[in-house]
C-alpha cells in the first residue's frame, strides 16, 4: 500500500537547474543499501555537503530561507539512471511533490509508484514559480490532485504579491486513482494472474 496523497499547501524549495540527473539526486555510492529507508539524508549529497561532510551554505536545501514539502526544479528533472533510490531519497527527505516543466520517463514512474507526485507545468508557469519563491520564500504553493491544479498563493507578508496564479496539470487517470486511494500496481497485477496465465497459454 502506498501512502495516500493528501492535497497540500506548502512553501517550496527552488532548484532552478536544468537536466538534474539521478546521479545528483543520489550519487551511486549511496545505492548499496538493501532496504528502501534512509535515503533522505543522502539526497543531493554532493551538492548539499562538502568533502568533509559539512553542509554547503549556498545550496537551497541547506538554506534557512527555504523549507517545505514541494521541490521546484528546472526542466528534464530526473534524467539518467533508473534508480528508484532517487524517488525514495526525495520522498524520504519529506517532499510530497516535485514540480518541473519536464520529467524523465523512468523517474516519473518511480515517483508515482512511491506516492511522490510529479507536477509538470508550462515553462512560463515554472518561471513564475521560481520568481514568486525568489521574491518571497514564504509563498504558499497549493497542489490539488483531484482538480489537477497547482496555484501560487501570496503569503500575505509582502505587499508586492498580486492575485493567485494557477495552472492545471496532466496525470494518467489510473495513477491518479492509485495516489488518491493509496493503491499500488503490484496488488493490481497480482489480481490479474488468471488473465496473465491465459495469455501465456494462448500466445
Amino acid at each position: 500500500m502506498l501512502d495516500k496523497f493528501i492535497n497540500l499547501s506548502s512553501t517550496a524549495i527552488p532548484l532552478p537547474i536544468e537536466n538534474i540527473d539521478t546521479d545528483q539526486i543520489i550519487p551511486a555510492r549511496y545505492l548499496k543499501a538493501t532496504t528502501r529507508e534512509g535515503f533522505g539524508k543522502q539526497l543531493f549529497y554532493d551538492w548539499r555537503y562538502d568533502t568533509d561532510g559539512n553542509p554547503k551554505a549556498d545550496f537551497a536545501l541547506n538554506s534557512p530561507i527555504y523549507a517545505g514539502q514541494i521541490l521546484v526544479a528546472g526542466k528534464n528533472f530526473g534524467c539518467g539512471s533508473s534508480r528508484e533510490h532517487a524517488a525514495w531519497a526525495i520522498y524520504g527527505a519529506g517532499f510530497k511533490v516535485v514540480v518541473s516543466s519536464f520529467f524523465a520517463d523512468i523517474f516519473r514512474n518511480n515517483a508515482l509508484n512511491n506516492g511522490l507526485l510529479p507536477v509538470q507545468v508550462s515553462e512560463s508557469f515554472l518561471a513564475k514559480l521560481f520568481d514568486a519563491i525568489k521574491q518571497d520564500p514564504k509563498t504558499q504553493i497549493q497542489v490539488n490532485l483531484e482538480k489537477q491544479s497547482i496555484a501560487i498563493v501570496a503569503s500575505g507578508e509582502t505587499e508586492s504579491k498580486s492575485e493567485t496564479q494557477s495552472e492545471t496539470f496532466e496525470i494518467n487517470s489510473y495513477k491518479k486513482e492509485c495516489l488518491l486511494k493509496g493503491y499500488d500496481d503490484v496488488d493490481y497485477l497480482i489480481s490479474k494472474h488468471p488473465e496473465i496465465e491465459k495469455f501465456e497459454i494462448e500466445r
Partner: protein, 463 residues
C-alpha cells in the same frame, strides 16, 4: 502500417486501462545486486513466490571489484549487496551467474552474449541501459525497483505506451568514426530530453552496415536522449550473431524462430510520431565537454559560446563548464587528460577492446596517464586473452582488468579522483559520476586510445 515497436508491444499487451496504462507481459527480466533487493523484500512482505523464476536471470555487475575477484569483496556494504542477491536467487529459484564464474558479466553484455536476448521479446531490467538489448530487435527498457517487484510477482509491468520515433542514418562512415561517435552525434543534436516519451527505431544504411556490437552501443545510449528505449530491426547480422549461442533456440526450434524473426520489421507504410534523418558524412570522432551526454562536439570543433546558448539554459551551461574547468568557445584538442577508461555496457565488448588494442599496437601509453581497460564480461575477457589482445595491451603499457561496471559509475574502488579528467567510453558524464568531483569526457574507443597514447585530447586520425 504498424511500426516494429507497435507489433511487439501490442503482441505483449494483456490489458489497456483507462488512462492508457498497459499490462505488458515481459518475456525476460534481468536482475543485478543494486536495484533488486528492495523488490525481493516487497515480495517477502507479501508472502509470495516469484511468478516465473525461469524467465529471470541474475548477474552481479555494479558493485564488483575488477581486480582479485577470487578474494572476498572488501567493502562490507558491497559485499552485503552481493550476498543478498545470491541469497535471493537461491531462495526463489532464480538462475545466477556469480562473480568470477564463466558467464558473469555486465547484464547488458551477458544477455546478448548468452543468447538469452532474442528478437521479438519484451525485456526489462532495473537499469536504464536495458535499451542495449533493443539492438537485437526486441522491446527492452529500464525500470525502477517497484516495477522489478511487479515482474517478480506477475511477469508484467504497468506502463503507458510510448510514442514512436525513427532515426535514420544513411551513408558511409568516415575513417576512425565508430558507432559511439554516431550516437554521441545524434544526442548532441537532439539533446538529453529529445527522445523523452518515445521509443526509437534506428534505421538507414549506416545502421544496417554496423556489427551487432556496434548496434548495441547505439541502442544502449538511447536513454541518454531520454528515450524509453531504442531498437533495430533484426536482419542477417542479428541472426548470425545469435545462432549457436547457449540459450538460443537450436535445431527445429531455431528454424521456427528464424521464420518468425524475419517478419519483425516496420511495415513500409508505417507512420512514426516523429522521424529524423542524419547523414553519416556529417559525423566525425566525437567527445563531450560538459556534464550531460548531449554536450558533445566533433573533436576538432570549439565549445559553443555562451551567446549561442538559449538564455534560459545559460546558468546550467555555465555551471557545467565551471565544473569541467573549461571556457566557452575554446577547443579541447591538446588538453591534458589524467585517466582513460575503456569498458561499460556501452563499449566493453570484444570489438571495442579489439579496436582499442589495434590502435595502440606498437605504441606506448603516455607516462602519467592511468588507464583502466575493463572487459564487459568473463567471455569477453576470455576472448581478449585468446585473441592476444591482452598481450598487445600489456606490450603497450596497459593492463586488462576483470569484468564489471567499474568506473562507469564508480560503485566499486575504480574511482576517478576529484578534479581529474577521464576520457571514458562509458555513457554518462554527469557531475561526480566517476567519483566525487571527477571530470568525464565521453568518447569512443579510438578517441580513448589516441588520448591514452598522447596524454592529451587527440583526433585519432592525426596519430
Amino acid at each position: 502500417m504498424n511500426t516494429l515497436f507497435d507489433k511487439i508491444w501490442d503482441a505483449h499487451t494483456i490489458e489497456t486501462m483507462a488512462g492508457g496504462s498497459c499490462v505488458l507481459y515481459i518475456d525476460r527480466q534481468y536482475i543485478h545486486e543494486v536495484t533488486s533487493p528492495q523488490a525481493f523484500e516487497g515480495l517477502r512482505a507479501r508472502g509470495m513466490q516469484v511468478f516465473r523464476p525461469e524467465q529471470i536471470t541474475a548477474s552481479p555487475d555494479h558493485n564488483i571489484p575488477t581486480k582479485n575477484q577470487h578474494l572476498p569483496v572488501e567493502d562490507p556494504l558491497s559485499a552485503q549487496q552481493l550476498s543478498t542477491l545470491e541469497e535471493n536467487c537461491e531462495e526463489f529459484g532464480i538462475n545466477i551467474f556469480k562473480v568470477g564464474t564463466p558467464k558473469n558479466g555486465i547484464i547488458h553484455v551477458m544477455g546478448p552474449e548468452t543468447g538469452m536476448t532474442q528478437p521479438g521479446m519484451t525485456i526489462v531490467c532495473g537499469d536504464s541501459h536495458t535499451s542495449t538489448h533493443g539492438a537485437l530487435g526486441c522491446v527492452a527498457f529500464g525500470i525502477g525497483t517497484s516495477e522489478v517487484e511487479m515482474v517478480l510477482t506477475s511477469q508484467c509491468v504497468l506502463q503507458s505506451k510510448p510514442k514512436t520515433m525513427r532515426i535514420n542514418v544513411n551513408g558511409a562512415l568516415h575513417p576512425n568514426v565508430c558507432s559511439k561517435d554516431v550516437i554521441l552525434y545524434i544526442i548532441s543534436k537532439l539533446g538529453t530530453d529529445g527522445g523523452t516519451g518515445y521509443f526509437i527505431e534506428f534505421a538507414g544504411s549506416t545502421i544496417r552496415s554496423l556489427s551487432m556490437e556496434a548496434r548495441m552501443t547505439i541502442c544502449n545510449m538511447s536513454i541518454e536522449m531520454g528515450a524509453r528505449g531504442g531498437m533495430i530491426a533484426p536482419d542477417e547480422t542479428t541472426f548470425t550473431y545469435i545462432k549457436g549461442r547457449e540459450f538460443a533456440p537450436q535445431g527445429e526450434a531455431w528454424e521456427k524462430a528464424l521464420g518468425e524473426w524475419k517478419l519483425l520489421k516496420s511495415d513500409a507504410d508505417a507512420v512514426f510520431d516523429q522521424e529524423i534523418t542524419f547523414d553519416a558524412a556529417d559525423i566525425f570522432p566525437m567527445i563531450t565537454y560538459g556534464t550531460n551526454p548531449g554536450m558533445g562536439i566533433s573533436i576538432n570543433d570549439s565549445l559553443p559560446k555562451v551567446s549561442e546558448i538559449e538564455e534560459s539554459s545559460r546558468p546550467s551551461f555555465l555551471k557545467s563548464l565551471e565544473y569541467m574547468g573549461f571556457q566557452d568557445g575554446e577547443k579541447l584538442i591538446g588538453k591534458a587528460i589524467d585517466y582513460v577508461f575503456v569498458g561499460s555496457c556501452t563499449n566493453g565488448r570484444i570489438e571495442d577492446l579489439r579496436a582499442f588494442a589495434d590502435y595502440v599496437k606498437g605504441k606506448q601509453k603516455a607516462e602519467g596517464v592511468i588507464a583502466w581497460i575493463v572487459p564487459g564480461s568473463k567471455p569477453v575477457e576470455k576472448q581478449a586473452i585468446e585473441e592476444g589482445i591482452k598481450d598487445t595491451l600489456e606490450a603497450a603499457g596497459f593492463e586488462l582488468r576483470q569484468p564489471g561496471c567499474s568506473a562507469c559509475l564508480a560503485m566499486n574502488d575504480d574511482k576517478i579522483p576529484a578534479g581529474k579528467y577521464c576520457v571514458a567510453t562509458s555513457n554518462r558524464n554527469f557531475e561526480g559520476r566517476q567519483g566525487p568531483d571527477s571530470r568525464t569526457l565521453l568518447a569512443g574507443p579510438l578517441v580513448a586510445a589516441a588520448a591514452a597514447i598522447t596524454g592529451v585530447i587527440t583526433d585519432p586520425n592525426n596519430l
